[in-house]
């Protein structure tokens, strides 16, 4: 019911660090999960069962399915400030206020890297401040890490937020997904981990996670987990993976730069720094729903009406076309 042990162990090393004491001391309760969704759902159900008075603070905006997951698990939700539309960046002051104003011991959902849908991540310094405030308030940090390696190209760097929290002694929860960074989307490979007081507690917590999984799907699917396990356990394959994930991340980063450069060359007077400041698969362009509609109707460009562009769909072949279309619908006469 807990899944592939080898896959779990390698997943923990990725998230917590190769030399993590928590791993050595066996303090992490971890189970294989149905990708990121399944990991979040297991945690939400665990919250409901063992921490029935808890709620979850979810950033505004977030991946829409986060709301569905905690709602179906019957855990009350609150939101916290995150995105700053005026700067297309992080509303750090608003974020810190909400952290301080939340009741002590609140549960927070944090995107470890490459925030979905905005692409806006806190800086390292900002993460340190957030972590400190979490300590003061005794908040519980639950990290959804769906893009490790895929964001910057370097898995260690993408786990920086988590490592900062761990250094500060937080006991975190973490949902990991191999959908993007290993391209295993449809295989549903992921891992849920929860840091515990000691080994005994980790064993107990793991046993309860398995109890939640059993009446949902009995045990997780083997195929994707085997692929992950074989790759991560073989030094050559792991090295190849690191190259490939960097390749994917670099292509996205390259497209961000190209899109911004194109817009500037077209003579757009609007600020487009956010395209390259944001990170990961998505760019929150700041375009209005009406502008997006024009992109679709006039230029056959499809994206969500909140202005979110999936940079994964941008290529050297279409970036000029895209830039031109964006310029046309956003320029002021």
């Amino acid at each position: 019911m807990g899944g592939s042990i080898k896959m779990i162990n390698e997943s923990l090393k990725l998230a917590y660090g190769e030399d993590s004491d928590l791993i050595k001391d066996k303090r992490i309760a971890a189970v294989q999960s149905l990708s990121g969704t399944g990991a979040c759902r297991l945690f939400a159900d665990f919250q409901r069962r063992f921490l029935p008075d808890s709620q979850i603070y979810i950033p505004t905006p977030t991946w829409s399915n986060h709301h569905n997951i905690w709602r179906d698990a019957q855990v009350p939700q609150r939101t916290f400030t995150y995105y700053h539309p005026e700067t297309r960046g992080l509303d750090f002051a608003g974020l810190m206020d909400d952290i301080k104003n939340a009741p002590n011991g609140s549960f927070f959902l944090l995107h470890a890297c490459a925030h979905n849908p905005t692409g806006v991540d806190p800086t390292e310094e900002q993460w340190r401040e957030i972590s400190y405030q979490f300590k003061v308030k005794n908040h519980f940090p639950f990290f959804d890490m769906a893009y490790q390696g895929f964001a910057s190209g370097d898995p260690e760097r993408d786990a920086k937020a988590i490592r900062i929290f761990l250094e500060d002694g937080h006991q975190i929860g973490c949902a990991q997904s191999y959908a993007k960074n290993m391209g295993l989307y449809g295989q549903r490979a992921g891992c849920l981990s929860i840091v515990c007081e000691d080994e005994m507690q980790a064993v107990a917590v793991k046993s309860q996670l398995q109890q939640i999984a059993r009446p949902m799907y009995s045990n997780p699917p083997v195929h994707g987990a085997l692929v992950v396990s074989i790759i991560l356990n073989d030094p050559e394959l792991k090295s190849l993976w690191l190259k490939e994930v960097k390749g994917m991340a670099d292509r996205i980063i390259g497209m961000r730069k190209a899109l911004k450069d194109n817009l500037e060359q077209l003579g757009s007077t609007l600020p487009w720094d956010h395209i390259t400041n944001q990170i990961g698969m998505f760019c929150y362009s700041g375009m209005t729903p009406e502008q997006v509609d024009r992109l679709t109707n006039e230029y056959h460009i499809y994206m969500t009406r909140n202005g979110r562009i999936s940079m994964a769909g941008v290529t050297t072949g279409n970036v000029a076309y895209l830039a031109n279309a964006i310029h046309e619908v956003t320029k002021t006469k």
Binding site: G38, G169, R188, P215, G224
Partner: protein
């Protein structure tokens, strides 16, 4: 930046969960050093050499899939279209009017468990007053599924220890007594854990009372093809209900019949009165699946779709399935023969031949089952259930000796 430490762990109140009753059997078996040991707890098919079996047709399909080099993009929430089509046709028959009329809502789901859970969640959301009736006994995880989905359940009589057979009168009476509109969970074939299935005539009467009470039939079909060896025959109970024009829930699993246990491949099917109804039901099942796992895993679905979609592979599958079912029937026969020959008391062991599928309810009680393990190193569940899938012809006589000893010398 020294920080505030957490004094009392948030997880202080999290107790160790009890060991799984079935997994515990396998663990104890592994720890046993005796040469004669036998694992009859396992609900997974084993060959005569007592090894796990990956079907040849599955290996063929996987090689084909690797050659094709298809991508690993997300499936839609409802799963692989080719799989959904194949699975509904397998279950109801490709020519069934309900399929032709588009009246079946099918979602690929995480094997039998996942299918049952989706259906349970749907029942909780849209039939919050309804109760599910489950057989006494039934597969242990059924109760967990309905409990976690917060759907109330009660039991209908099923197993009669006096006859080691079906308590048909009790079953009908309990289904009759339940409030109108209850959901009745039925095992389509090869009842788990007893191996006791209603006869076709009994199925008709069960359908009568369900129809009369406006209950919703809810089939768990985990052994289609694996029970009798024939896919069509094993689906006859489901088809009987569908033919009456009833709306029916059916959960399917390919764990046993295609040996795809760990791939987690199955489906939930809801036969509805009209295509428009099926569309609505399907849309709501999707809404329940999305916050559980978003979309189902591709690998097992592709295997099934490839096997069923290719006439040669489909034929090979049917043959391998017949062989698996045949091996089970052979060990049943040998066990029965051994028991009859060795047991001088005149006890009638023929229930072993009448039962069907992977399991047999031996009629041994807990103390007797303990004796099987402690004295004879035979591992089984404490309800007297043995898995014939874990029995070889070579071990039948030894097993017979153990059963006779436990039955007659232990109370």
């Amino acid at each position: 930046m020294m920080a505030v430490a957490v004094d009392i762990s948030r997880f202080e109140g999290v107790p160790m969960a009890p060991p799984d009753p079935i997994l515990g059997v396998s663990e104890a078996f592994r720890a046993d050093k005796n040469d004669l040991k036998l694992n009859l707890g396992v609900g997974a098919y084993r060959t005569e050499e007592l090894q796990p079996y990956v079907l040849n047709v599955v290996k063929k399909a996987e090689n084909l899939m690797l050659e094709k080099g298809e991508n690993k993009e997300y499936l839609p929430i409802e799963g692989l279209a080719a799989f959904n089509k194949a699975t509904a046709e397998l279950l109801f028959g490709a020519d069934n009017p309900v399929i032709k009329q588009g009246r079946v809502a099918t979602l690929q789901s995480l094997s039998g468990t996942g299918s049952l859970r989706l259906a349970a969640a749907f029942i909780q959301r849209y039939f919050p007053e309804a109760k599910v009736l489950i057989s006494s006994p039934t597969w242990g995880n059924h109760k967990n599924i309905f409990n976690d989905a917060r759907v109330p359940w009660s039991e209908y009589r099923y197993y009669d220890p006096k006859t080691v057979g079906l308590d048909f009168e009790g079953m009908i009476a309990d289904i009759q007594a339940a409030p109108d509109g209850s959901f009745v969970l039925l095992h389509g074939c090869a009842h788990n854990p007893t191996g006791i299935d209603p006869t076709p005539e009994q199925w008709e009467k069960i359908a009568d009372v369900i129809q009369e009470k406006k209950h919703m039939p809810f089939f768990d079909v985990a052994y289609q093809g694996f029970a009798s060896g024939s896919l069509d025959e094993d689906a006859s109970s489901v088809r009987l209900f569908v033919e009456r024009g009833l709306e029916v829930f059916v959960a399917q699993s390919y764990s046993k019949n295609l040996g795809l246990y760990a791939e987690r491949i199955g489906a939930i099917n809801v036969v509805c009165s009209a295509p428009e109804v099926a569309n609505r039901v399907k849309s709501q099942l999707k809404r329940l699946a999305r916050p559980m796992y978003s979309n189902p895993p591709i690998h097992g679905a592709r295997i099934v779709a490839n096997v069923v979609g290719d006439p040669v592979m489909f034929g090979e599958w049917k043959q391998e399935m017949e062989e698996m079912a045949g091996r089970i029937k052979n060990v049943r026969q040998k066990l029965y023969d051994s028991l009859s020959a060795k047991d001088k008391s005149g006890k009638d062991w023929s229930f072993i031949l009448r039962q069907i599928g992977m399991f047999s309810y031996t009629g041994l009680n807990k103390t007797q089952s303990d004796n099987m393990t402690d004295k004879w190193h035979i591992y089984m569940t404490k309800d007297g259930r043995i898995s014939l899938a874990g029995l070889s012809l070579a071990k039948c006589e030894y097993l017979a000796d153990a059963i006779i000893d436990s039955f007659h010398n232990i109370s």
